[in-house]
């Protein structure tokens, strides 16, 4: 008996034929055909009923025994179900392994839907963010993590940098929160405990600030005596043999004092609690001032070329800008041979305000450029020492810019000169009607 539907058709045809023949003998072929069809239909209905009963019991137990096309149907369904069950078990196992491994992550992980509702989170999120399972599913994450910094971070939707907030349940824990968009508008929020790193960072900063502070006092005493000795020598008292060493000593002491001054300045710039006053700072005035000062100070015969937009002012602290610009200028002068040119441009465009200091100096090798703003990093140790820098100038520039949300761009070509460009964000610019 072939189990396909054609077999079934044959069966029906043969049944009808036999019924018809027997019926003709009795003189009632139509009645016989009707009975055969009815029997055939009853058999099918009975099987449909069996199938339904079996399926309604989720097909857990063995399928009912069938005959003809029904055997094939039962068998197929049974096999399909077995395959599905197997696959489901496998998927379930993978899923539970996967969620167990993400749950064991040391960092808090929260899956957010497009409008910021919590869809899933791991154990660490309960610990660090104070979320509760399962009642917080569907809640907007901003309702439970309410720190203003986090609220702003989510509102801005700029996830390039992580945000640092204290843990909601325990203020002594600092969390670094980061959102990673993925898939179709889904977002993954990761929070990591950075208290230890933060503590070390604070310790390092405090150490540098304290050490510099402690060094300054003895140095002032030394400088004082050295000055007195210099005065004495210049008036012809004491042995003239000491004139050279004393001069050298006071020169080095001055250098040390300026390094300590720069270190303290950096420590101040790095300090966490910053409040930026909304004072207007006239940048072009500072630049003119600085250029005049440096001209007089170094007695240089460099040619300055200024192109300044004098109506363009920034918000911020005058001291910060002054120290940044002064460092850029000093650098340009220091590494440009006498007679060289220094171009200073100050302008604004759609991206923000920019200050460019370009020189025709000796230039910087490309491989050194990324490391220039590190503290005490020097391209050529002997040369820069002989020119009397502290090694902290560009670090200060970078920190000032970072504090104001800006960045420093450096371009250079060996032997032709370098260009340092400070980029300031748009919101720092004093609005145009104010400058008119």
């Amino acid at each position: 008996m072939s189990g396909s539907w054609t077999g079934e058709l044959w069966l029906l045809a043969v049944g009808l034929l036999v019924g018809w023949l027997i019926g003709s003998l009795a003189g009632l072929p139509w009645v016989a055909a009707f009975i055969v069809t009815g029997l055939y239909l009853a058999w099918h209905v009975y099987n449909v009923h069996r199938l339904q009963r079996w399926l309604s019991r989720n097909g857990r137990n063995e399928p009912p025994a069938g005959w003809g096309v029904w055997a094939v149907i039962y068998d197929r369904i049974y096999r399909m179900q077995r395959r599905n069950r197997k696959r489901k078990r496998k998927l379930g196992r993978i899923l539970s392994e996967f969620s167990a491994s993400t749950a064991a992550l040391p960092d808090a992980a929260v899956v957010l839907d497009p409008i910021g509702c919590i869809q899933w989170f791991n154990d660490a999120a309960e610990k660090y963010l104070g979320l509760r399972s399962p009642q917080d599913y569907g809640q907007r994450v901003g309702n439970l993590v309410r720190h203003p910094v986090f609220t702003r971070y989510m509102l801005r939707a700029d996830y390039t940098k992580p945000a640092e907030i204290p843990a909601p349940e325990d203020q002594s824990i600092t969390l670094s929160v980061r959102v990673i968009p993925y898939g179709s508008d889904q977002r993954l929020l990761i929070a990591r405990d950075v208290s230890e790193a933060k503590r070390l960072e604070t310790m390092r900063r405090d150490f540098i600030a304290n050490a510099s502070h402690e060094l300054r006092t003895p140095l002032t005493v030394l400088q004082g005596y050295l000055e007195m000795m210099e005065d004495d020598l210049s008036m012809g008292r004491g042995t003239s043999d000491w004139e050279q060493p004393v001069q050298e000593m006071s020169g080095q002491a001055r250098r040390m004092a300026s390094i300590i001054g720069d270190l303290l300045r950096l420590a101040e710039l790095e300090s966490a609690n910053i409040f930026l006053p909304h004072a207007r700072v006239d940048v072009s005035a500072i630049i003119r001032e600085q250029v005049d000062e440096h001209r007089g100070l170094l007695g240089s015969d460099h040619a300055f070329e200024l192109a300044l937009d004098s109506g363009l002012s920034l918000y911020g602290r005058r001291d910060d800008y002054t120290s940044a610009f002064s460092n850029l200028l000093t650098n340009a002068l220091r590494y440009t041979p006498p007679g060289g040119e220094i171009h200073i441009r100050w302008w604004a465009d759609a991206q923000g305000a920019h200050l460019s200091v370009a020189d025709s100096g000796i230039g910087i090798p490309t491989r050194d450029i990324p490391r220039l703003t590190e503290r005490f990093y020097r391209v050529d140790v002997d040369r820069s020492r002989s020119r009397g820098g502290t090694g902290l100038g560009l670090a200060i520039v970078k920190h000032v810019l970072e504090r104001y949300g800006g960045s420093l761009g450096i371009a250079s070509e060996m032997g032709k000169g370098s260009e340092f460009v400070c980029h300031f964000p748009l919101d720092l610019i004093v609005s145009t009607e104010a400058k008119a």
Partner: protein
Amino acid sequence: MDKPLIDQHISGQFNVELEDVRQQVMAMGGLVEQQIADAVEALVDGDGELGDTVERKDYKVNRMEVTIDERCSHILARRSPTASDLRLIVAIIKTITDLERIGDEAEKIGRMGSQLASQAKPKGAYAEIERLGRHVREMVRGVLDAFARMDPDAALEMAREDDKIDREYEGIIRQCITYMMEDPRMIRRTLDIMWSARALERIGDHARNICEYVIYLVQGKDVRHISLEDMEKEVHTHR
């Protein structure tokens, strides 16, 4: 746990509006929490600059109150909400008033902090103020969490905290009186500390009010002006 109360609307837009307002309330709460933390820190560490920052930031809290108020009126006018939605809007309008007052109290503490920063620190009392401050901040956080989760049990729990805060406050006052009797030169400064403690205690009272709104919001029961025991009974009947 069942879905949040408001998640059962035919109009998706209305849902979003309600959720947005609720989120704004929580954001305002977060700002207020931060203000309390900063104000207490400024007072205890004698950080005048931080105290000034707290004073200056209070306008943000006020501005948020106005914005949320406006949006609530808008929803009332356009959607004419009923039942639990109406209760939500009413609870929000009341909550932001209390949050704004909490902000004012924090501002007061911040101002006290920047005043006291220039003077020498008096001994004692600060540790207690710090503890009270931490306690109050925890309470405000718990209350806002209860609001976010619409959890009347947590709200009740937090309402109980208010009594503890009142007792702590009494303790500080007694201590301050002793200080003043010991050394009359300290009276001025001790009075400032007492005012700060008073402000913290008031924050506790406002937070308790918010607890009552949460219970009102979820269960529709008015539990104002009744004792804690009656409040518990109210919450636990008809569960």
